[in-house]
């Protein structure tokens, strides 16, 4: 999926897929923080902006 989205012109950083077990609370929090920071750096998505 990541590969295809990248191919059609999405920034690859916009899609995260990660396996986190229910017991890995810290890993989940860290991942969410990491994603948020990266997305902030990327700025708003320019693709598919005309969606209603």
């Amino acid at each position: 999926m990541k590969r295809l989205l990248e191919y059609v012109g999405f920034e690859p950083e916009r899609l995260y897929v990660k396996w986190i077990s229910g017991s890995e609370g810290q890993k989940f929090a860290d991942t969410a923080t990491e994603i948020t920071e990266n997305i902030k750096k990327l700025g708003p998505n320019k693709k598919m902006r005309d969606a209603q």
């Binding site: 999926m1 990541k2 590969r3 295809l4 989205l5 990248e6 191919y7 059609v8 012109g9 999405f10 920034e11 690859p12 897929v17 990660k18 396996w19 320019k46 693709k47 598919m48 902006r49 005309d50 969606a51 209603q52």
Partner: protein
Amino acid sequence: MSKETELVRNKAKELLEDGDVELVVGYEEGTYPSRTTPLFADTLEKAERLIWNPFCVNSLPKLLSKGHFEDKLAVFVKGCDSRTVIRLLQDNQLDRDEVIVLGIPCNGNVDLDKIKDKVDITTIIEVEVTNNGVNVKTEGSTEELSREEALYDKCLDCRFPNPVIADEVIGNEVSELPKNKNKDDEVASLANKSVAEKNEFWEAHFERCLRCYACRNACSACTCRDCLFDRDERSTWLAKGKTLSDNEAFHITRAFHVAGRCVDCGECERVCPVGIPVQKLNRKISLDMDNLFGIGEIATSEDDIDNPPPLGTFLTEDPEEFM
């Protein structure tokens, strides 16, 4: 009458006469001798209308996948179409015992859109396709064209000129075809472009999409009776309206749905009225699937019928890029 046409008619008549089948599915002349249209011959009279030439392009097995036919039938297939047969058998859309597959080796199909500026397509009498080029004979003259100038793009990169499944092969086997085009290289070169360039490329194409769903309806892998795109009233993420993002969502979703099931027949791209390079999407997915699951080319022999598509099964050794 060409030699192939004669063979096709004789075979059809023989099968109908002997009562081996009730119906023979082939092609007849369409609007012009250079245009063909499917023919469902259930009588000897109709079998006399069958033809075979390099204009016999659309995939016939797809027309049989609706469960409309109760009687035993025979169908003519080219190499690409024969992979569709395997695809449909994998999905239980065809019953192997009820279909006689008549394979015909193919050198490539002629694209009327490509040659219409060079010859008057209404006057074409005969066309011969060889490894070296394409000779188009019209009422007035003979035009010698290169394969690139005359054949469908999908045929320029053909890896299966001979049927991979057939109860009988009619005509001589084709030796290896010249590679006039390399789709995989095209995919790679597009993939190597910048995010912005890729975006621009696809948006220009998706913007034109009419959402006529010809690509879906012609697709060998699209066999759902009830397609999600017809059920969009129930989904909130993909609207029927034609906007760039809905068009884009449609194409990305469709590409995923055929992942590991696309047989690269190229019909999607051929039937698109607005020239969207659909196959460039599907081929990318096929290459990714091979890369991830090592499946290579799918639907290349009768043995593949029992190989389930990789995304339809789970194996513990499946790759997990996200762990």
